[in-house]
Amino acid sequence: MKLGDLTLVQLRQRLTDNDLALRTGPFVTRIHSPMPQVADGLLRLYADFPLDTGEFRDFHVRVGPPPGLRRWLRPQINFWYDGHSPFKPLPANHAFALLEWGLNWCVAGHAHHYLMLHAAVLEKNGRAVVLPGDPGAGKSTLTAALMLSGWRLLSDEITLVDRDDGLLVGLARPVSLKNASIDVIRQAFPDAVIGAPAHDTHKGTVAHVRPSADSVARVGEKARPAWVVFPRWRQGATARLSPHSRADAFLHTASHAFNYSLLGGLGFELNAALIDACECHDFEYSRLDDALRVFAELAA
């Protein structure tokens, strides 16, 4: 059964009753929330994801109002993982964004049976591109554009490297866009399904793009790494790839990984095997259509 098989009323009821277990790639999360924004966002962005009926859940999370008088004066929401709250409360209309950040936090903080890099990852023709990127570099915009152009999304934020075979494991969760990139994607891809924006978050305005049906359907297919590309959006730049030192790519991905140090020698070997398997490039761009052409040539 997929989440989209539920009506909004049914979904709200199951979320309120703590009776919704969502599978996102290798993880199953039990989500408990009375917040209508959470139900709306899930139905809009996770409709293709399967619900899980098994006994085991990786994460138990709740998004709801914190206790106390304040919630009546200034509505807030908080995120709980296994009963404790790792974040400060946020305005109530940030409920869905908080769920997304919380789900990222769950994976990044607990899934140490993978090497977890802070990077997007997509696949085309059996080969995957890993996109590390500093905030503001245009990583998520490029990720959304590639996904909406036929690349299979594995992840927008967390690249999972399987410790047994070094292949990349998908999550296929929504792509997080910020500020101007929301309208850039809306204009370039009028059919893209984009969730309700959350304004005035610590990242500015945030909205999420629904993953393609193909990305969700094939989330169980691991992908072979072929490229590490460091994107950078620069006004007026001609879209082009240029070589990036592989040693530097190794150090960047290691230093931005969620658990490289924790995994010790295994983290070194997994990241090194990833770099061994990849061509590494810098990529500057300003126009999305030019960027997509360069990536189409890369994957041809």
């Binding site: 030192s245 592989r246 040693a247 530097d248 190794f250 150090l251 290691a254 140090s261 010790g264 020698g265 070194f268 070997e269 090194a272 770099i275 061994d276």
Partner: protein, 96 residues
């Protein structure tokens, strides 16, 4: 630490060093400390020799001189700086 051609150098036993080279650039991982560093080709040459076996300073200087095609005295001077840095980072140490 003044130069001593007879001094034997080694990798600290707890270091469990791992190494990769890409296009002439070298990255080493110190398993004991969990530290990752990029080293010069000269330092990498020294470390790779020490990973094979503890080696006297004079042999390391000869290795460096031959690899870089420079006079032994010049290599020995460079080696002093390399070993000092590797010792500071605990990637190499005098053997007893």
């Amino acid at each position: 630490m003044p130069p001593d051609p007879a001094r034997l150098w080694r990798i600290p036993p707890e270091a469990d060093l791992r190494h990769r080279e890409w296009d002439g650039e070298h990255v080493f991982f110190h398993g004991g400390a969990g530290d990752t560093h990029r080293f010069s080709e000269a330092a990498a040459l020294v470390l790779q020799r020490l990973m094979a076996a503890p080696t006297e300073e004079s042999s390391l200087a000869t290795l460096l001189a031959e690899a870089a095609a420079v006079e032994p005295a010049e290599a020995a001077a460079a080696l002093t700086g390399i070993l000092k840095e590797l010792a500071r980072l605990e990637f190499a140490e005098p053997a007893a």
